[in-house]
Amino acid sequence: MDFFLQQLFNGLAVGGIYALVALGYTMVYGVMKLMNFAHGELFTMGAFLGLTLLGVFSFTEVLGPFGGIFVLILMVMGMVAIMGVLLERVAYRPLRNSPRLSAIVSALGASIFLQNAIMLMYGARFQVYPHGLLPNTPVSLFGVDIPLLRILLFLVSVFMMAGLYFFVQRTRIGTAIRAAAIDQDAARLMGINVDRVIQIVFIIGPALGAAAGVMVGIYYGQINFTMGWIFGLKAFTAAIIGGIGNIPGAMLGGLLLGVLETMGAAYISTAWKDAIAFGVLILILLVRPRGILGERVADKL
C-alpha cells in the first residue's frame, strides 16, 4: 500500500507536468485545429533558458529558494512566450489558409529546426541543473514519506491550471478564446479579433510549457535537447486522452497518463514505460476517439 501511494504521488507529479504541456497543445488545437509539433521544443527551450539564467544569476541565494524559483519561472515563461509568438508569426500564420497537410508539415519542420537549434547552442550532451535549489525534505502524508519537491511540483501545476481555467472561463479574453475555438468565422463576425486570440494562445501555451520545462529540470536534475520530443508526444497523448481542444480534458488526461505510466513502470516494466503511454493512446483512439471529455473525431461528415 505504501508503495502504491508513493507511486501514485510520483505519477501525479509527472502527470502535472504532462498536463501543463498538454494545455499548450490542446489550446492551439482548439483554436487552429493544428497539431503544434514545435510545442515540445518550446518546453525544452524553457528548461535550457532556466539553466542559463541560473548560471547568470543565482536566484535562490538572493531571493530565497521559493521566491528565487518563482522569479526564475516567470522570467523563463516570458521569454518562451515571445518565442511562441514568433513561431506562430513565422511558421503558422502564412499557412492559415493552406491545406492542413501543409500546416502540419510546417509544424514538424519548425520542431526539427528548434530542436537542432537547441542542440547547436547547448550541445548534444545532458546538462545538469544545480543541485538542491529547493529543499527536498520528505513530508509524511497518509502515512508515507513523500519528497517535498514532488508535492511542490504537483501543487504548482495545479495552481497554474486553476489559474488558466479561471482565465478562460471568467475573463473577456478567455471567452474570446472559447468562441474562436468553437467557430472562427462566427467569432470574427461577432467582432472578435481572431489573430489576437491566436497570439494570446501562443503566449499562454508556450509559457505554461516553459514553466513545465524548468520544473522538469529541477525535478529530474538533468535536461537534454531531445527531451521535448518525448515529453511533447506524451503530452499530446494526454491531450487526446482528455479530449483534444478541451482544457479541463488536458488537465485530466495529463494526470491520468502520469499515473498510468508510473504504475505501469512500477508494476509491469520500466523498459516498456514509453510503450505503455503510446499503447494507452492507441487504445483510447480505438475505443473513444473523442477522448474522455472531448468532441467528436472520426472523419465523417
Binding site: M35, P94, V105, I112, L114, N116, D274, F278
Partner: protein
C-alpha cells in the same frame, strides 16, 4: 514528352555506367543510400502522396521487414534475397493489423498514432521481444546476398542490386498510378466524400494503399539488412520516419521524379556539406517550413493527369 524520354534515357545511361566511370567506392556507397531511400520514399509516397494518409511511422514497417529477413536468414540460413517477399508480407501483415482499426482517423490523429506505433516497434525491438531481436545490440552476421553463385559484397555490386530494385519499384508504382486503383486513391485524396459518393469503398482503398506501402518498405528493409549485415533498433527511430516523410514532401508528394529528387537532396546533398553535418537537420527543418509557405506541393509536383481525348487543364490536378 520526347524531351522527357530523352532526359530519362540519358540519366539511366549515366547511372548505369556510374560505377564503371567512377570507381570510387565512397560515392557509390552514397548512391546506394540514395537508391535505398528513394525506394522507401516511393513506398511512403503511395501512402502520403497518393492517398493523403499521414504516416509518420514508416520506419516501423521498414524495421519489421529488416528484422524478419535478418532473423530468418541468421537462424535458418535462408538466402536473404529469397526472403524479400517474406519480409514484405510480414511488414504488410503488421501494417494490416495496425492500420485496420485506425485508418478512419483524421489527418493529425493518424499522424500521432503512426508515431506511437513507430515508437512501440522500436521499444519492442530494444527490449528483445520474443527473444528474437537481440535487444539494443540488434542482429549481426546477416549473410551476404547471392545471385547465381555470385556473392554480393562490394559497393558496386550492391549498386546494381539496389538500383535494379529501384527500377522495379519505379515501374511498379508507375503502373499502379495509372491503374483503376491509383485513380481511386487520387479521388479519395482530393475529395473523400465525393469519392465515397461515387461508390468507392474509401476505407478499403486506404487500407490497401497503406499495406502496399508497408510491403514495399519491408522489402527495402531486407535490402538494408543485406547491405549492412548488422541491424539495430537505432536505425529505425522516429527521425528515420521523418527523413522518409521529408523526402516525399519536399520532393513532391505524389510524383515519382519528385520523390527521387527528394532522396538525392536529403540523402546525397549532406555528403557535400560534411563540415556542417551537425546542422543538417536544422536546414531540413527550415526547408520544410519555407517549402510549405512558398511551394507547398514540393520541388517537382505531379503533373495533371491526362486522359485520352481530354485536353490537360492547367492546374487541374490541384
Amino acid at each position: 514528352m520526347n524531351k522527357n524520354a530523352f532526359i530519362i534515357s540519358v540519366l539511366l545511361a549515366f547511372f548505369a555506367c556510374f560505377p564503371v566511370l567512377f570507381s570510387n567506392p565512397y560515392w557509390i556507397g552514397v548512391l546506394n543510400d540514395i537508391w535505398l531511400y528513394a525506394i522507401l520514399g516511393l513506398s511512403l509516397n503511395w501512402i502520403v502522396g497518393h492517398t493523403g494518409l499521414f504516416n509518420l511511422g514508416h520506419a516501423a514497417y521498414y524495421a519489421v521487414g529488416a528484422y524478419t529477413a535478418a532473423i530468418l536468414s541468421t537462424r535458418y540460413n535462408i538466402p536473404i534475397l529469397w526472403l524479400l517477399p517474406v519480409a514484405g508480407a510480414a511488414a504488410g501483415l503488421f501494417a494490416l493489423a495496425v492500420a485496420r482499426p485506425i485508418i478512419h482517423l483524421r489527418g493529425d490523429y493518424l499522424a500521432i498514432v503512426t508515431i506511437g506505433v513507430g515508437e512501440i516497434v522500436r521499444i519492442a525491438l530494444e527490449n528483445d521481444i520474443f527473444g528474437l531481436t537481440g535487444g539494443s545490440n540488434g542482429i549481426f552476421g546477416i549473410p551476404r546476398p547471392e545471385i547465381f553463385d555470385m556473392r554480393i559484397r562490394r559497393p558496386w555490386q550492391f549498386y546494381y542490386l539496389i538500383g535494379g530494385f529501384l527500377l522495379i519499384t519505379i515501374w511498379f508504382f508507375y503502373r499502379l498510378e495509372q491503374s483503376r486503383f491509383g485513380r481511386a486513391l487520387n479521388y479519395i485524396k482530393e475529395d473523400e466524400t465525393a469519392a465515397e459518393g461515387s461508390g468507392i469503398n474509401t476505407a478499403w482503398y486506404k487500407l490497401a494503399a497503406f499495406v502496399i506501402g508497408a510491403v514495399w518498405a519491408g522489402m527495402a528493409g531486407t535490402l538494408f539488412a543485406a547491405k549492412m549485415t548488422i541491424i539495430s533498433p537505432g536505425s529505425f527511430n522516429f527521425w528515420e520516419s521523418v527523413l522518409i516523410f521529408a523526402i516525399v514532401i519536399l520532393g513532391g508528394a505524389g510524383s515519382i521524379p519528385g520523390v527521387i529528387l527528394g532522396a538525392f537532396l536529403l540523402v546525397g546533398l549532406p555528403e557535400f556539406f560534411r563540415n556542417f553535418a551537425d546542422a543538417r537537420m536544422l536546414f531540413f527543418g527550415a526547408a520544410m517550413v519555407l517549402m510549405m509557405i512558398f511551394r507547398n506541393k514540393g520541388l517537382l509536383p505531379p503533373l495533371a493527369r491526362k486522359y485520352a481525348g481530354v485536353p490537360r487543364v492547367k492546374g487541374g490536378d490541384a
